[in-house]
């Protein structure tokens, strides 16, 4: 230590002169060291460039060798060229210069210098590769991606490794693991190691691996684990240690439990998504049925009209405001509400008003209206489904965990529905219009006596109910097909929600819709969609036995139906 410091002790200039020989010696060593390092990197760079260059070789064997070499060198800078090769975007010019094309193939850049090149000036050849080259290509890309600076790429690479395990990865993964900071990626690395660890001869290592798999593994591991429990032809277990076998069994059940839990969460989410759509569809129906005792068979068509309004707005934006395309949805919401609301009001004024007190006739008359509406839409827009595209902010989804993707459009719909329900609830409970609506719902005669214009209220309520259904159509357009018969698909379910949830309280409709949505989704994997529907119907009939007025209906001495 002391000597080291003495070496670096500042000396007067004079003393330097004295140690010139030493200094020169040191300087020489220094230069030599620098030159070596430099030459190494130059050599390395050269090696890298050489290998990269060889990707364009005419011989497939050389290409394979080059790929493996790049993999061994471990330089992530090779990735663009390798990925281009995989994606058939790598070209070689006559001078042997490697060119990487962009996605649409109209621009290219030099693989080494990254400079743009003029494609038209060059004569380009495609490198010939076959499946065996592709295999090496894939695993090398995977290896290099593990070292990428982008955590998303690292995660994806790690998961790829997990799926296609090949030996010799262990050191690579251990190296990457040591550098890895993200917990999520570390987990995957552990699993890769564990998968290899199961093949180890050391029993302790196998047990350790099992512990990790038990904690983090998913369904993909079941095969591997079950192979540990297999017997050979003589009936003996391949895995001789019972402790290992037991742990394997525990790991399997742990994985199954976890998977079950995840599946149920996914079902819950999709059930809520379905329920939220049902809610929008049924809310309008509950309002009009509660108010007027009218079951509007054309209610489904209000949904359909809302969806088609969205379609029209989408097209308008596409044609006239393409830069603002993503905003079409914002414009579609009030449009659908108004269009459906107006159609509803027209229905009420022209037909339904005259059939007050005769619910069965109203049912038939509104069915007739629905036929007319469907046929009109068919004649205008055609009988086929029309395309409504998700705006960009609703495409894709978030990866929740372990293969469960929650699409953005469904999440948005759930939020939207909550918002609408709160709005409607506030309107009904807090506004003066809402007060009048509730009064007429509970006792029409009395409400009229205290001066409420029941006709006007009927009109507004019907408009509101139809408008809400129109909003439901907007939501539907984002997750499903839009065709003239859209309404027919949802009308039966909407009815079921109203029957089950009761009429007169929004809570009932919410409970009914969510309940049915979730129930449907949970029954689907068990019984299939059709049997699920039948079971739901039977269930509703059973519930009605106990509570004929539905789960949340208004109690009291109502007029005898």
């Amino acid at each position: 230590m002391k000597e080291t410091f003495s070496l670096f002790k500042p000396r007067k200039l004079g003393t330097l002169l004295i140690g010139r020989k030493t200094l020169t010696q040191f300087f020489g060593v220094f230069v030599f060291l620098v030159m070596s390092v430099l030459s190494f990197s130059i050599v390395e760079a050269n090696d890298f460039e050489l290998a990269l260059q060889d990707l364009g070789n005419k011989s497939r064997t050389k290409i394979k060798k080059a790929i493996k070499e790049l993999g061994n060198q471990g330089n992530p800078a090779a990735l663009p060229a390798l990925e281009a090769l995989k994606g058939n975007r790598l070209r070689i010019s006559d001078d042997g210069v490697l060119i990487i094309l962009n996605e649409s193939g109209d621009k290219g850049r030099n693989a080494l210098s990254e400079k743009q090149v003029d494609l038209k000036a060059l004569n380009l050849r495609k490198p010939r590769i076959n499946n065996s080259v592709r295999r090496v290509l894939s695993s090398t890309i995977g290896k290099l991606q593990l070292q990428s600076s982008d955590p998303n790429i690292r995660l994806a690479a790690a998961e790829q490794l997990l799926k296609k395990s090949s030996g010799g990865l262990v050191e690579l993964v251990e190296k990457a693991l040591a550098k890895e900071t993200s917990d999520e990626i570390r987990e995957v690395f552990f699993l890769v190691l564990a998968k290899e660890g199961l093949k180890s001869d050391d029993k302790k290592k196998r047990l350790q691996s099992l512990k990790i798999i038990k904690k983090f593994g998913n369904n993909d591991f079941k095969n591997v684990l079950e192979s540990l429990l297999r017997k050979n032809e003589k009936g003996e277990f391949l895995e001789s240690y019972s402790e290992v076998r037991d742990n394997a069994k525990k790991a399997i059940s742990s994985i199954e439990r976890r998977q079950f839990f995840i599946d149920q969460i996914a079902n819950l989410f999709y059930g809520m998504s379905l329920g939220s759509i049902l809610l929008l569809a049924a809310l309008g129906l509950a309002i009009t049925f509660g108010l007027m005792g009218v079951i509007n068979m054309a209610h489904g068509e209000m949904l359909m009209i809302g969806a088609y309004s969205t379609f029209v707005i989408q097209n308008l934006f596409r044609d006239y405001l393409p830069n603002l395309f993503d905003w079409y949805l914002i414009a579609a919401i009030p449009t659908a509400f108004i269009v459906s609301g107006v159609v509803g009001i027209i229905m009420e004024r022209s037909v339904i008003r005259h059939l007050y007190g005769r619910p069965l006739e109203t049912l038939l008359a509104t069915w007739g209206i629905s036929l007319v509406l469907i046929q009109t839409v068919r004649l205008i827009f055609g009988a086929q489904n029309v395309e409504v595209a998700n705006p960009s902010y609703l495409s894709g989804g978030i990866q929740a965990f372990n293969g469960v993707v929650l699409p953005f459009n469904r999440i948005a719909i759930i939020i939207f529905v909550i918002f609408v329900v709160i709005l409607v609830w506030t309107l009904l409970q807090k506004s003066s219009l809402g007060l009048q609506v509730r009064a007429v719902t509970q006792n029409r005669g009395m409400a009229s006596c205290v001066g409420i214009s029941t006709r006007k209220i009927d009109m507004y309520t019907f408009g509101l109910g139809s408008g809400v259904a129109g909003l439901g159509g907007v939501a539907l357009s984002q997750v499903g097909n839009v065709g003239p018969e859209l309404g027919q698909l949802y009308i039966v379910d909407s009815f079921m929600v109203v029957v089950l949830g009761g009429v007169g309280k929004i809570a009932g409709t919410v409970a009914g819709a969510m309940g049915l949505g979730v129930l449907n989704k949970f029954l689907e994997p068990v019984a299939g969609a059709v049997l699920g529907k039948i079971l739901v119907l039977v269930l509703i009939i059973i519930v009605i036995q106990k509570r004929p007025q539905g789960l949340f209906a208004l109690k009291g001495r109502m007029v005898d139906d």
Binding site: L554, K555, G556, R557
Partner: protein, 261 residues
């Protein structure tokens, strides 16, 4: 379900204690509102009791409970000693011998007066006999007698929808009589009737007492005075006062709540 055979057999009511209707501690609430609140009421066999009270006092709800339309939350309702009304269906109660006339006349508008009575007539009422049996001579006579009692002999073949309001009320009473019930529950029989019609109704009801037990709900004070023996005043779901008409009228509690003068 009740044995259909038993429907026509005399479902005898045990009135050995003299009381035909026991209501004890009856409580019925609708969505938090107490329509009946610990109601106690006893009707003797053969008496004619009038129930009065302001709107919302619980009169119709009480009838609903007796006839099985509404189930009580608490309390007991017994017809005689042996029929627990809270456990019987409407038609079983009707067979046991309780008949009810509703506030709004609920005759069958599309049937003739005769047919209305034919339907109400005490007889076997199951599906098969309805399909196969026609009216016997005896039964026809009973109906015709009843028509005389209610004064609608001329309108025998007229569709009930075409009757006047008062006539509809009588038809309904006639339907009640022809059922030959032991206990009649009559909800506002003279609402909308002329003075003469009211008098006739009073006579009719008064003549029924003794052979039948009658409970009448009404607002028309003169009518009640002319028929009533004992009067029960209901208020907010329970009994406010009970006794002879004169006594009840003088009761300060009653005056404060209802009569005013």
């Amino acid at each position: 379900m009740t044995n259909p055979e038993a429907q026509i057999k005399d479902v005898s009511v045990d009135t050995s204690h003299g009381c035909i209707l026991y209501i004890e501690g009856l409580t019925v609430s609708f969505d938090g509102f107490k329509a009946l609140n610990d109601l106690n009421l006893y009707i003797d066999e053969g008496e004619l009791r009038c129930i009065i009270g302001p709107n919302g006092a619980g009169k119709t709800t009480m009838m609903d409970v007796i006839t099985g339309k509404t189930r009580p939350d608490k309390g007991t309702v017994f017809f005689g000693q042996n029929h627990d009304l809270s456990k019987m269906t409407e038609y079983e109660i009707s067979h046991a011998g309780i008949g009810r006339k509703f506030q709004k006349p609920t005759v069958f508008l599309n049937h003739t007066v005769f047919e209305n009575l034919e339907l109400a007539l005490k007889a076997e009422k199951n599906v098969w006999t309805s399909l196969t049996k026609s009216l016997s001579g005896e039964q026809k006579d009973l109906i015709e007698k009843d028509l005389e009692t209610i004064g609608l002999t001329e309108q025998m073949n007229l569709r009930a929808g075409l009757l006047s309001h008062g006539q509809k009320q009588w038809l309904e009473i006639g339907m009640l009589l022809v059922q030959d019930p032991k206990l009649l529950l009559i909800d506002e029989p003279v609402a909308g009737m002329t003075h003469q019609e009211t008098e006739r109704t009073a006579e009719l009801l008064a003549s029924l007492a003794g052979k039948h037990s009658v409970v009448v709900v009404e607002h028309e004070m003169d009518f009640i005075r002319s028929i009533a023996n004992r009067v029960t005043v209901l208020h907010e779901g329970s009994v406010l006062a009970e006794g002879k008409m004169e006594d009840v009228q003088e009761d300060p509690k009653v005056m404060e709540v209802y009569l005013g003068s």
